[in-house]
Amino acid sequence: MKLTIGNLHVQDVCLGSENSFKDGILTIDKEAAIAYLKEEDDHITDLDIVIAHPGDDTRIVPVIETIEPRVRMDGRCLFPGVTGDLVPAGDGDLKAFKGCCVTVVGKEWGSFGDGVIDMGGEGAKQTYFSKLINICLVGDTDEEFERHEQQKMNHALRWAGHRFAEWIGQIAKDIEAEDTEVYEFDPITKREAAKNDLPNVVAVLQPQSQMEALGYNDLWYGWDMNKYLPSFVSPTEVFDGAMISGSFMPASSKWSTYEMQNFPILKELFAEDGKEFNFIGVIMSNLNVALDQKERSAIMVRNMALSLGADYALVTEEGYGNPDTDYVRCQVILEDAGIPVVGVSDESDGRDGFGQPLVVLNEKLTALVSTGNVGALSDLPACATVIGNLEAMNRDGMSGSWGYDEILGKSARDDGSIIMENNNWFCGNHISGFAVKTMVEV
């Protein structure tokens, strides 16, 4: 499978009355975009588009999702089974607007898995997305059944975000790419001898699937990953929209759809493919909550790795807490099968840093990358502009923020300043690999 991504580097985004991309300026016809997105989903009652730039004194909350605007040159949809018909992903030509993202924001209401992005100031370092121009899609819906639920599917707004990314992507269709990324994943039984002689490395991804009720989890070709078993997939499928992010999991431990489209760990594996090792693909697992489901997935990952002839594995989880059991179990079962592992995750050490980093520990885990502590506190001044609604942090049970604490007070203070846990930074620990943060003993 060969996936070619032609990049168009966005210097600025403007809202106007036409769609265009000239001299690095992406112009979006705001009214047409809103009309299209409302037309596609009757549940959307309110929609606005606001641009936030890196360095702006702007706080965005509650952030539901981020997506990179792209187009498929052959007319296939960007997210099969989500924004269009089920079609294969993972090969062909794409164009992508780099340096920007569609950021889906609740106008009023937040959910457990929603987060915060600070575009400037001390909080900007907490998420990768502060480095991008955020094309914020701020909306509300008539999904009354979950209005006051802590766990929201946020279906209408999430789908609007994916459609919007696809709609913006259309602007790139007839414009020549400035540079091109090529990802070639050769059939693993038909590789040249020199490559076959290298050690075989497999990536094991554990995307979020903990919610037993459907509609909250990550989707694979539109399929809820709670009702899924580990499968062998091409890394190019992950880049090409086969998977979208869900609405569950504390924000800082999530992988957003933008991160799946650009999965840094998979890109680094491609960078060394054919040099240091032979990258033989991805075992896409999941993170269900019942013990038998966990064990079944671990067994299937092990057996697939053995059957593929994997010599080494890199395992990463979208989450912490309960998912740590899958993360640790999977590494142990692979090590026991003679397949040494490197793991990538964040930690939950508590506010004081003295807590146990993972829910379960096993001395067979000898090579771990750590990307942050979900319990670390942030206390930051007000920003001049808020996109969304700060009160959601106090009211809606967003992970890592609260409405009452006898010592710390509420998360979103009346003067606009905030105090919250790392948990609430949108994808803040960037387990997908963007993280330039580690954990040390102090």
Partner: protein, 352 residues
């Protein structure tokens, strides 16, 4: 502004004398005594205002009294840091430095630092509580140990972030985030793949999370059911519908205690009874019937059948998701007195 430091030494380093003066009672002197003099010259923008001297035997045999007397001496002193030692591998002196540092941290909320060799029991006893710079095994290394100790002290006085690996003190089991320069080489993706390559090649690499040795709690002895006073405790977040104790839905630091006297079964959310506020699982089943997490119904039925002595008339609840081991241990220690008071000798702890 020049910061103020207080120094602690034993009778030997305080110039009082050797073993024959080890019963020397705590005394505070203005200025610097013994190693404090050399330390003062290495401190940046800080002065050592006082030195406390105490004999090792006196501290060892009358620990509480000695610490109380030292605390009293410090009550009217302004200071920003306490430095003790270096103690090298001396047993009693190492433990004394640990005791004094811990007392000052606990009672005055001030930072402390000392230097002890790993062979002194002071390290094992106090390394989790205080900063102990790894010291040499003999006083001949005073210059080196003092230099390392004061280097850390200077950083602490400036409020700089310490790191075990860089600053040479014993790990406390405390972890913190460290931002790296924003380069591709520093991304978790690059670090992970390079670590894998080193693992493949059999080269040395440094894991970013060292898995500590297991802290296993032994299984308790069986309870005789006919004598069993059983309490129900859960991390499943079952609370009265208005969540009166405002227990958090994740990363909980709060817990609640709810009266179930005469209650045969917990009424559900729809009946304005109980619900779960736990954010880590689908609440539908527990909201429909809270007894599936907090099995008051089954326990009352067994109680009536005489399967055990009696049910404790309160249940206890918090939320387990994202809640750290240390917070959980603290909450348990707050709950236990209530259980002991009612003679509870068995607990059913339901998780989710």
């Amino acid at each position: 502004m020049t910061k103020k430091v207080i120094y602690y030494v034993n009778q030997f380093f305080g110039g009082i004398g050797g073993e024959d003066t080890a019963d020397f009672e705590p005394e505070i002197r203005e200025g610097q005594v013994g190693p404090a003099t050399a330390a003062a010259s290495q401190l940046e923008d800080a002065e050592i205002t006082h030195t406390i001297i105490c004999g090792d035997n006196f501290m060892g045999s009358n620990t509480e009294e000695a610490l109380d007397r030292i605390a009293k001496m410090l009550e009217d002193k302004e200071f920003d840091l306490l430095i003790a030692g270096p103690a090298f591998q001396a047993g009693r002196y190492g433990v004394a430095c640990g005791n004094v540092c811990k007392m000052v941290q606990d009672r005055f909320g001030k930072p402390t630092v000392t230097s002890i060799n790993v062979e002194s029991p002071g390290v094992e006893m106090f390394k989790k509580d205080i900063i102990i710079v790894e010291g040499a095994n003999a006083a001949a290394k005073m210059r080196k140990d003092l230099k390392n100790l004061i280097k850390v002290a200077n950083k602490m006085l400036k409020g700089e972030q310490l790191q075990c690996a860089v600053d040479g003190y014993f790990p406390r089991g405390k972890r913190a985030e460290l931002w790296l320069e924003d380069t591709r080489e520093n991304t978790a993706a690059y670090r992970g793949v390079q670590m894998l390559i080193k693992k493949i090649k059999g080269e040395d690499y440094q894991t970013e999370l060292i898995i500590p040795k297991k802290d296993v709690v032994p299984i308790a002895d069986p309870v005789k059911l006919d004598e069993a006073v059983i309490a129900l405790v859960t991390t499943g977040g079952i609370v009265p519908v208005d969540n009166p104790d405002r227990i958090q839905s994740a990363s909980a630091t709060r817990w609640g205690r709810y009266d179930i006297s005469g209650v045969d079964s917990l009424p559900n959310r729809a009946a304005e009874g109980y619900k779960t506020i736990h954010a880590g699982f689908d609440p539908a089943a527990a909201d429909a019937d809270p007894n599936v997490i907090m099995p008051v119904d089954a326990m009352r039925a067994y109680e009536k059948e005489g399967k055990y002595a009696r049910l404790h008339n309160y249940f206890y609840s918090t939320v387990g998701t994202g809640t750290t081991e240390s917070e959980a241990a603290r909450m348990a220690s707050e709950i236990i007195p209530y259980l002991e008071e009612d003679g509870v000798n068995a607990i059913i702890l339901t998780s989710t």
